[in-house]
Symmetry: C2
Subunit: 287 residues, 2 copies
């Protein structure tokens, strides 16, 4: 019997439990967490077979240990995992920033770092919690694998094979490439969406505006409903790359505002046209 | 028999033709446009019963004349409509900016301004064209009515009743209120989405980033696939309100970047938390 220990059984951890079991990779799921009520929920929903608030017990029993907590909580979790991980077990994580997490794994796992392989599934949803977990969340979705020279190639290969079995498409890159790419296409848009909603709601009568918002606003700000702690941690652990993107984006907005102030229709249209052409050409995986 | 003349039979004009006919408000639709191929498409799709590139003929036959072209094209169209509009007919438009359009209607329609009532349906989609038109596009969606003291109250009431018959929810406000609100919840997000895609595609290897984009990026940038001419015109005809919002938004981003650079997790979380709470509380009408 293969046991999966999920440390942090929310949307992603819960969906891993469901999908990896469905794919026949694991037979039994133990969910570890701090909140007994949330753990009971995971059991009620049959996402976890067993729940515990004892991390020692949870890690000791795991053949595959998944670290699925906000990234700033990971260093501490890796330390605990390093203490209790059994021989031959594999540790992985699902964090949205890579250089920070891999450094934390190296430090926390110590000798057991050779049992670790990193993965970042590009899947999720703005609403957190095990209630949102689904066995097909990762179907046809990309999972980024960012092996480094200090990792055990066999463990990395094993993790990648498991993700493929679940139906995901595995893409390899360096941790640095990952963090630069996702600063652009994920972390920046989240900051922008949070910023817009925050700005509007700080006005004297935000509801006059918000009740008029249509489908454009709805989709643009969907990600502003995401977990503040998870995204705070992403911002803090990918500061340099994200700040670089923010600087570039603020320059882009400065230009656009200048065009608008000057009534430069040609320049506005050139920007919109370029964006439109590129955006219409994009194809997104999965549902 | 009641004839609707649609000047500019794209997504919105075409959807008005379909939905107003379905609601029994009009029996016959004439589409006027400059491009014979696009007009034939409108006829093939049975959105229009009759098509013409002769604006005089189109306007003369209309009992209800809908101006559904990019807003900077409206002044010229209103002038033509003013010349040929028959007695008792009603003119309306669907433009996304109100003070500019109403001023254009006043100037272009002259004596016939009393036959005009303004409407802005908060509905649409990023892909333009009559192929996207649908008879239920306006179902449960808000239509903004912005009457001014110079308009004929009976004509305004008539237009509002028609929209209600189509299944829309009519909301009244002043043109200035409209332009301020939509600068915030519609025009600004469009500029932000266009700006992000434009910025990324100007890099040396945009595809390395774009092919990794997930559902968050997909939804955030959906509106960047919208018509560049339509949105250029909106930016140009709502410059002051939009520029004010851009200034405020750039300040918001400056603060957020400072928090990120300083690693101020508390301030980042407070912003994200406020946005999240407000965004989760929003309910959007329609599908």
């Amino acid at each position: 019997m293969t046991t999966m220990t999920v440390i942090g059984c929310g949307l992603i951890g819960g969906s891993m439990a469901l999908s990896w079991k469905k794919a026949g990779i694991v037979d039994w799921v133990i969910a570890y967490g701090l909140n007994p009520e949330r753990l009971e929920k995971a059991k009620d929903l049959q996402v976890a077979d067993e729940v515990t608030t004892n991390i020692k017990e949870a890690v000791r029993k795991g053949d595959i240990v998944v670290v699925s907590v906000p990234v700033l909580a990971m260093p501490q979790v890796f330390e605990e995992v390093g203490k209790y991980l059994k021989e031959g077990a594999v540790v992985t994580d699902v964090g949205s920033t890579r250089t920070f997490v891999i450094r934390a794994a190296l430090k926390g796992l110590g000798d057991k770092f050779r049992q670790y392989a990193p993965g970042h599934p590009i899947a999720g949803g703005e609403l957190p919690g095990v209630e949102q977990a689904s066995s097909d969340l990762f179907d046809k979705k990309v999972v980024i694998s960012t092996p480094t020279e200090h990792m055990d190639k066999a463990v990395v290969d094993k993790l990648e094979d498991w993700w493929k079995k679940v139906g995901s498409v595995v893409q390899r890159m360096t941790p640095e490439q990952h963090d630069e790419i996702f600063a652009s296409v994920s972390h920046l848009p989240h900051v922008l969406a949070y910023g817009l909603v925050d700005m509007i709601t700080k006005e004297s009568d935000p509801n006059a505006k918000l009740k008029m918002a249509g489908a454009g606003f709805r989709d643009f700000t969907r990600i502003a409903a995401s977990s503040p702690v998870m995204w705070r941690d992403i911002c803090l652990t990918n500061r340099e790359a994200l700040s670089k993107e923010l600087t570039r984006y603020r320059k882009e907005l400065e230009s656009l505002q200048t065009y608008i102030d000057l009534g430069d229709g040609k320049a506005i249209e050139a920007c919109f046209e370029n964006a439109m052409r590129n955006r219409r050409g994009l194809v997104f995986p999965g549902k």
